[in-house]
Symmetry: C2
Subunit: 186 residues, 2 copies
Amino acid sequence: MVLSLPGWIDDVVARFPAALGDSDQRMALAIALARANVERGGGPFGAAVFTGSRLIAAGVNRVLESGFSIAHAEILALTSAQQKIGTTAGAFSGSVSLVTSTEPCCQCFGAIVWSGITELVCGATTADAEAVGFDEGPKPEAWPEVLEARGIGVQRDVRRAEARSVLEDYARRGGVIYGLRHPVLP
Amino acid sequence: MVLSLPGWIDDVVARFPAALGDSDQRMALAIALARANVERGGGPFGAAVFTGSRLIAAGVNRVLESGFSIAHAEILALTSAQQKIGTTAGAFSGSVSLVTSTEPCCQCFGAIVWSGITELVCGATTADAEAVGFDEGPKPEAWPEVLEARGIGVQRDVRRAEARSVLEDYARRGGVIYGLRHPVLP
């Protein structure tokens, strides 16, 4: 099974400085990835993994392209970063930040717990994603506190309006809302 | 990024009849996969995806071998099955069963929600995994009911004692308890 990322990701990354000094700048990259993915027919989600100001790996949602339900932007960014760093027992050591254009769904929430990241930075909210029709799934209501209790700092609402606009543009174009209450609720 | 399964999985599968008529027989395969993985230095978890009595794909935990924190048995079995079937928008259609030697952790619980399976069959319990030192993470206390509400039937305690013995043997051998409260709880 191959989880692959499109080559154009490097072009998006190349539009940004090599050092992205704060969460706001790092989020700008995650949002640019989400927007570029929509323009190429993908889902409206982007994510990137950093150590300090330095990008380790970027990801975009590839569910539609790959047919894999796990292929969310966060999963691809985390897995790509783990491959690049060469982790032991599947977890980063040191300070690692995951920056995601939309708050994680239930699957990515769980994956974050094992990934070894120490910080999660979010743009659009769960409510923003659900407002355009996406289902974020059953995660704990107090999910940021659950992550904090495990040593993962959570920063929310970073460039939220800009991140939300990617979701709204996607819905306006009639983008597929995959994963929507699948299989089927009664 | 390549999620790969070991070639010996086919040898384990070959020891079983082509049609496994009930959950008990299907669980015997998942447990055999878990046990074979331990014997080869892997984590004590196995899973398999079925349509009716027919195996679609099998998986074992590959976290230690791959360095990927997502490489749980359930994720590999689901992704391999989605690849073999060729799913649309990352979800199965029709009746699909995931049989896992131990109840899913928080990550696999979330992944199950989007996978499109219609049935989850579990061997050892969350408490069994935690008794030997594994952390199953923050999933809803009533997680079976949450899945049921989404149209995924849940069957538990299938060959539980046999499944638990794989976990216990792993711990007795001094197997690595990866993902354990990682990064570090205060």
